[in-house]
């Protein structure tokens, strides 16, 4: 064990030297490529460099850069990395029990990037994810859109927007999850009233700031919650709204219209009952596919045909795991079950890629394979909608973050002793007692 500190130092140096150097282009050739942007390519080639896609096309029709590292993926299927528009990986949190409206609470300040659930998401082919606080509040906090890069801290996963802020939305909920004993609302009407009051406050707060014209004496005192809601009012961030029952869905649409905020409907168990209204409002839906209806009153009428019905009505439809409700490792299954219930194959595959990219406002950089976009992709053993297919590799911005042939990654993919453990500290300069115990255990298994 004594060599380990030195080994760690070498890794650190290697990393430092590697930074800034232009890496070799990488070529993935021979696979069936499903670019999502455009028709599938039977024998395709994907060229990536510096975390970006340089080219996608048919073998023989793409000029391969000199000195490229060639990956022969003949017989495999290559498609964009999956995007999960609603997940709880990383054991994050939002607001607490002190009240129903807490837009100031940030997932950013709570996430464990070493949590096994994040590695399991990579094993499921997920490259981007919207990590949300729970649905037990009307407003439970600020969500975070993440790239599942190899990470030591949360900063390694963030998606930076052009203005320097972190990409993310605001989690809201209506229906029974946020109806509790005081100070939480007791009814649906009260829930809506509390939310409306809060947005009116935010409007007034925004107006005060505008009237102050930068005069510090006239500016209202800073309010973290209202600042976030102003961003929502200004359309800088999107409301991600948990909602099941058809009347609750319509309430979300009503509030969104009143205050002009951008919203995505999440779960939408009864979306099939009000598909035309959702379509008319031009509001996207993020649907969950659970193995049976029920489990609570609001999901009594949940129906696997919802994505198909919404698609037909012209709604933008994405899927989510709501991990741990559905397992990130089987995210493609949601698309498969939606096809089983009548959705088009095209729509279902878009639902786990580009549709979710649009839902998160990230479609400019991920969600499909096209030159200039981030090199986020997965290598599958066969067709994405088959139960027999395995995710073999997951790449984020040109870096491999999951490889099924790696024993540790395989463990995260299939489960077993140790699969629930957090990923051990990497690139660390010392061997912790925990690492020593774990290595000893590995020998025994």
């Amino acid at each position: 064990m004594s060599y380990r500190p030195l080994f760690g130092m070498v890794l650190w140096l290697g990393l430092a030297l590697g930074l800034g150097a232009q890496e070799k282009p990488q070529v993935f050739t021979g696979a069936q490529i499903i670019p999502i942007a455009g028709e599938p390519i039977a024998h395709g080639v994907l060229v990536v460099q510096g975390g970006k896609i340089l080219a996608v096309g048919e073998v023989g029709q793409v000029t391969l850069p000199a000195g490229a590292e060639i990956h022969d993926v003949t017989g495999k299927v290559l498609m964009p990395g999956l995007i999960d528009s609603h997940s709880h990986v990383g054991s994050g949190s939002g607001g607490d029990g002190s009240g129903p409206i807490q837009p100031d609470a940030r997932v950013l300040d709570s996430l464990d990037v070493r949590d096994a659930s994040i590695q399991k998401a990579r094993a499921g082919g997920i490259t981007s994810v919207n990590v949300m606080p729970g649905s037990g509040h009307l407003i439970s906090g600020q969500t975070l859109y993440l790239k599942l890069r190899t990470a030591r801290t949360i900063d390694d996963l963030l998606i930076k927007l052009p203005d320097g802020t972190n990409a993310g939305g605001l989690k809201m909920a209506n229906g029974t999850n946020s109806i509790k004993t005081a100070p939480f609302p007791g009814t649906r009407a009260k829930s809506a009233a509390l939310v409306r009051e809060q947005y009116i406050k935010a409007q007034e707060y925004r107006d005060k700031i505008a009237r102050a014209k930068g005069d510090p004496d006239k500016l209202p005192p800073r309010d973290l919650g209202l600042e976030e809601l102003v961003e929502i009012l200004d359309g800088k961030r999107i409301v991600q709204n948990h909602t099941h029952r058809h009347d609750d869905i319509l309430t979300v649409l009503r509030l969104s219209k009143e205050f002009g905020f951008k919203v995505v409907l999440h779960h939408v168990s009864e979306g099939w009952k009000v598909a035309d209204e959702i379509a008319a409002a031009q509001v996207p839906c993020s649907v969950i596919m659970v193995d049976s209806p029920g489990g609570k009153l609001e999901t009594r009428d949940a129906d696997w045909r919802t994505p198909a019905i919404l698609e037909k009505a012209g709604v933008l439809v994405g899927f989510h795991t709501d991990d741990p409700i559905c397992d990130s490792r089987r995210f493609l299954r949601s698309a498969g079950l939606a096809v089983r219930a009548g959705m088009t194959r095209k729509g279902a595959l878009e639902g786990v890629t580009i549709a979710n990219a649009k839902i998160l406002g990230l479609d400019g950089r991920t969600g499909s394979l096209a030159a200039g976009k981030d090199a986020d992709f997965i290598v599958l053993s066969a067709d994405p909608l088959s139960v027999y297919t395995h995710v073999e590799q997951t790449w984020v911005e040109g870096q491999k973050v999951f490889d099924l042939t790696n024993p540790q990654d395989h463990l995260y993919a299939v489960g077993g002793v140790g699969a629930g453990d957090s990923r051990r500290a990497q690139l660390c300069c010392f061997t912790s007692a925990w690492d020593l115990i774990m290595s000893a255990n590995e020998g025994n298994q």
Binding site: V290, S292, P293, R340, V387, Y388, V414, G415, G416, G420
Partner: protein
């Protein structure tokens, strides 16, 4: 004349339910998996009076003209879920439809599933719509001894009409889920068992009590014999094996504890869950006990932290008899579907035919009902599932479910 007409009417009324339930059917399949022999290509199953009349390839089985013909790409025996709570843990998940867990005491073997099962709960029809025709359902693995299970066809009529075995097993849970009923008020009886050691101690005491009860019941002096005791009567049926204990154990120390108990009391157990099975494969194999493996897609936390989608495949490869199950879910999905669980097992080491066997003939053998269901053989119940493709594929559909010759088209799911 009037009497004659009345007799005729009565005769028709008497025959009507039978006719409704048991049409004469011919089911043709591009591929039929009888599970009693190799797959048949272009096969036919004839059904008469609710039983399988004949099965063979299309060139050997002639379809009578008056038989209703059903076609499918793939035909399998009706699926069997070896451990469920469907019908007791209802769809709404409200207090009035949750009968799988009586929280007043940690040891209640006297609770019968037949007194709680709701044949008309929508989730019974839901699992049926995927081809499930038989379930071993009952009290959930939530208390040390939560109650009994029953084997029932998913016909959705009345319990007494649909039941196959009203008292199949008694549900025992060792490990975290069998401890300390969480909503027991402080100081109440349900504070105990709070530890693994206490749980096993209570279980041993109960088994010894049952043995002593049996001894006293056989005493020479009739006046000194104890009165009937529903609880101990059930324990006795567990001891003599007529109604075996279904022991839910996931951690390896709990699996080993169950085997230790079995040795002490000469019990024949059915092991259930067994997330840690790969750590104690030899011990399980040596016991000879079958395993109802945890749902392949069950969430991995607490005692199930080490579960794997490959567990079923590993147990099967070791030669241990297995069946799959939907188990119990307290939230969503309110029920799992054993077909979908078998599908993921098939794709992760178990393989197609063993996975199909684990929800048909192997499950039937484990439940002791293989003499009349679980495979497509002449004389067995006409329990079949029809699919438009590989039953395990996400995008395939169950296009029909047949139970005792009655056709259900709930789906297509």
């Amino acid at each position: 004349m009037k009497t004659f007409l009345r007799s005729l009417l009565l005769l028709c009324l008497a025959a009507a339910p039978l006719a409704l339930r048991a049409e004469n059917l011919a089911i043709t399949g591009d591929t039929i998996y009888p599970m009693s022999g190799p797959a048949l290509h272009h096969g036919v199953v004839l059904v008469r009076d609710g039983k399988i009349e004949a099965i063979g390839t299309a060139d050997t089985v002639k379809i009578p003209a008056d038989y209703r013909v059903l076609q499918a790409a793939v035909v399998t025996p009706g699926l069997i879920d070896a451990h469920a709570t469907v019908g007791l843990s209802g769809l709404l998940n409200q207090p009035q439809d949750q009968d799988m867990w009586e929280k007043s005491s940690p040891i209640q073997p006297e609770l019968r599933a037949i007194d709680a099962y709701n044949a008309r709960d929508p989730l019974v029809a839901w699992v049926r719509s995927f081809g499930v025709t038989t379930v071993n359902t009952g009290h959930a693995p939530t208390a040390l001894i939560s109650g009994q299970t029953m084997i029932v066809k998913t016909l959705g009529r009345e319990t007494d009409e649909d039941v196959v075995n009203p008292a199949a097993m008694t549900s025992v849970t060792l490990g975290a889920n069998g401890l300390n009923a969480p909503d027991g008020s402080p100081g109440s009886a349900s504070k105990s068992p709070g530890t693994r050691a206490k749980a096993v101690a209570l279980l041993r005491a109960e088994l010894i009590k049952a043995q002593e009860y049996a001894h006293k019941r056989e005493g020479k002096d009739e006046a000194k014999r104890p009165g009937r005791d529903l609880r101990l009567e059930t324990m006795l049926r567990g001891l003599d094996g007529t109604q075996p204990f279904l022991v839910t154990v996931n951690r390896q120390q709990d699996i080993v504890a169950a085997l230790r108990l079995a040795k002490e009391f000469k019990l024949k157990l059915i092991l259930d869950g067994c997330a840690d099975a790969p750590l104690v494969l030899n011990e399980i194999k040596a016991s000879g006990f079958p395993v109802v493996v945890h749902p392949t897609m069950q969430r991995s936390y607490q005692d199930m932290e080490n579960l794997s989608v490959e567990t079923a495949g590993k147990l099967h490869a070791a030669g241990i008899p297995i069946a799959l199950q939907s188990s119990y879910e307290s939230y969503v999905p309110k029920t799992r579907v054993v077909l979908l669980e078998a599908a993921v097992a098939a794709a992760n080491g178990l393989g197609f035919e063993p996975a199909l066997a684990s929800i048909t003939i192997d499950a039937a053998k484990l439940l002791g009902i293989a003499d009349h269901t679980g495979s497509l053989e002449k004389g067995k119940d006409a329990d079949l599932a029809l699919y438009d493709g590989d039953p395990f594929e996400y995008t395939s559909h169950c296009t029909g479910t047949i139970i005792n010759g009655q056709v259900f088209a709930d789906g297509p799911h």
